[in-house]
């Protein structure tokens, strides 16, 4: 799957989990850019992403993401 497609799918997941249709994700987006995205909703996002793509991240991966781009890279690496 192309990274652009992954980003599009992540955007749908984020809108759904965070209940905000206005969310637009770019690879540079960080938690501070999205009001509803905090340390608790973060884990809900992780679980939803794992479920949607049928993948499992390691703790180290999850804790090393600095922005949405890193998350996209992790998903892409697991899918190929």
């Amino acid at each position: 799957m192309e990274k652009v497609e992954i980003l599009k799918q992540l955007e749908t997941i984020f809108r759904d989990v965070l209940d905000n249709e206005g969310i637009v994700l770019t690879p540079q987006t960080v938690a501070d850019d999205v009001e509803e995205w905090d340390s608790l909703t973060h884990i809900q996002l992780v679980v939803a992403v794992e479920k949607a793509f049928g993948i499992r991240f390691s703790s180290k991966e999850i804790l090393s993401w600095a922005n949405v781009g890193d998350l996209v890279d992790s998903v892409a690496a697991k899918l190929c």
Partner: protein, 509 residues
């Protein structure tokens, strides 16, 4: 040597004169053209070295015996960082071992200095319950000043290297200057290496706007601490020192006033530390963001002692929550409770702090299961810019929960918590409201309480700013001289009504 003492003023005057002259060494001050990058690099190193020297002198005033220990751990963690960085990417196992060594030594030193005596005493108490008299005694371990703050900085340094958030620094002087940075050494805020180390990588030239902003913030901190918190402390200390003879109304007043006192005390100190940092050209981490406008306990903790709670969120809560993620909300609740027990225990080794943390952790349970935690709404303003009735009611109930929690925090022991509640329920017949204080003391603490309400109201209208204090925007205060006169007048008023107290609540942690 506290930031609001005369010794500090003398120390800082000498320190700052040299510090701010270093960028001008060897050229006309203020000359920007033809800046020689190599010469600036020398000046930067010299400035950091001077900062480190200042840090050492400052720490030596507080605790000379612990200087070798502080120096030792700084060298050790610098080496851990270099080793973790050296093996990262090539040999992950070895890199992981070095950062784990940093975490284990950090936790180990906190356990030793802060908690060993508590464990020994608790264990001896437990054995004596079963009739054993083991002859175990506390070791009387001396707590190094600022240990809870600098050990957290050191641990975040090695963890961030391991997580790939930062690269290890080869510049030992910068690293040592960061860990021992004197404005935040005694009581925080806890700066993160990612935000602070880059600031040491450039030469800091004196900036008048930033320095005057810093001075204003220091003055606001002095107002909060010396005028408000210390005068409120006269009232709450009197109540807590003789709880058994207080009336119900007096105890309730002392309990309700304590969150305000604590806020003025600790956020006042944070403002002073951040202000001193600004004069030196540093952006220090924010520690408070108007916690009394929180509508539930989660919002409150987002605005209270932010540098500690965000540290524990990143390094304790998040890893636990990731690990427990298959358990859904139960997993998050468990991670929250563990994190809050640690926040409580961070304050010191006692059952009251443990219970304080557990209490706050448990307050999240209804928020999490009802889903209220995830329903975020913006504060609405009603007439005169005041909060809406429902928001105001939520703020008041959050405040009450915080005040109740602070009974556990303030009490000298678990029995002291019980004494406070006993006084509330049995003190109805006692003479009310004198607290055993003189008339003058009562008037001044009462005035401090009214002024505190005024300060909190001012903060409501200025809550979008970092801090609210500034000369009024009236025409008369437009000339700089008039603004300076205003600040001087505020300072004089504070000095007239300051108590002799020079204790900060958070120095004991």
């Amino acid at each position: 040597m506290t930031v609001n003492s005369l010794e500090f003023l003398l120390f800082f005057a000498v320190f700052f004169a040299v510090y701010s002259a270093i960028p001008c060494l060897g050229r006309k001050c203020g000359a920007r053209a033809g800046i020689d990058a190599d010469a600036d690099e020398v000046r930067r190193k010299l400035q950091n070295l001077w900062l480190l020297a200042g840090n050492i002198v400052f720490y030596a005033f507080a605790e000379p015996r612990m200087l070798p220990l502080l120096g030792g751990v700084i060298v050790l963690y610098w080496l851990f960082g270099l080793a973790a960085g050296r093996f990262g990417g090539s040999n992950e196992r070895v890199a992981g071992l070095f950062s784990a060594a940093g975490v284990v030594s950090g936790i180990g030193s906190l356990l030793y200095f802060k908690y060993l005596d508590f464990f020994i005493e608790s264990f001896a108490d437990l054995l004596s319950l079963f009739g054993f008299r083991p002859g175990m005694h506390a070791l009387g371990i001396v707590l190094p000043v600022g240990v809870s703050f600098f050990v957290f900085k050191l641990m975040s340094y090695v963890i961030d290297i391991r997580r790939g958030v930062i690269a290890p620094t080869r510049d030992f002087i910068s690293f040592a200057a960061y860990v021992s940075f004197f404005p935040t050494m005694l009581s925080g805020p806890i700066d993160r290496p990612k935000a602070f180390l880059p600031q040491l990588a450039t030469l800091r030239r004196f900036s008048l706007p930033m320095a005057s902003d810093g001075c204003r913030q220091i003055l606001w901190g002095i107002v909060k601490k010396m005028l408000l918190a210390d005068n409120l402390a006269v009232l709450t200390d009197a109540c807590w020192s003789d709880m058994a003879s207080q009336s119900t109304v007096s105890v309730l007043i002392a309990v309700l006033v304590y969150p305000v006192q604590m806020y003025m005390d600790f956020s006042g100190y944070s403002d002073m530390a951040i202000g001193v940092g600004k004069i030196l050209g540093f952006r220090v981490a924010r520690n408070f963001s108007y916690p009394f406008f929180a509508r539930n306990i989660a919002e409150y903790w987002r605005g209270w002692h932010i540098s500690l709670t965000s540290w524990l969120t990143d390094y304790v809560f998040m890893p636990l929550n990731v690990r427990f993620r298959d358990w859904g909300t139960h997993g998050s609740v468990l991670a929250i409770i563990i994190t809050f027990v640690l926040i409580g225990m961070w304050h010191g080794a006692s059952w009251t702090f443990l219970l304080f943390g557990l209490y706050h952790g448990l307050l999240y349970v209804p928020l999490m299961y009802s889903g209220a935690f995830f329903r975020k709404s913006k504060l609405k303003e009603g007439r005169f810019g005041l909060p809406s009735a429902s928001d105001a009611a939520k703020m008041a109930s959050t405040y009450l929960l915080v005040a109740l929690g602070l009974i556990i925090f303030r009490a000298p022991s678990l029995a002291g918590v019980a004494d406070c509640f006993t006084a509330i329920f049995t003190g109805a017949g006692r003479p009310p409201l004198t607290f055993g204080l003189t008339g003058r003391e009562l008037v001044i603490s009462g005035a401090a309480l009214l002024l505190s309400f005024g300060a909190v109201a001012w903060e409501w209208y200025g809550r979008k700013k970092e801090y609210v204090f500034a000369a009024p925007s009236w025409r008369i205060f437009r000339p700089r001289a008039m603004r300076i006169a205003f600040y001087a007048a505020v300072f004089i008023v504070v000095m007239m009504f300051a108590t002799n107290s020079n204790e900060f609540i958070y120095f004991s942690f």
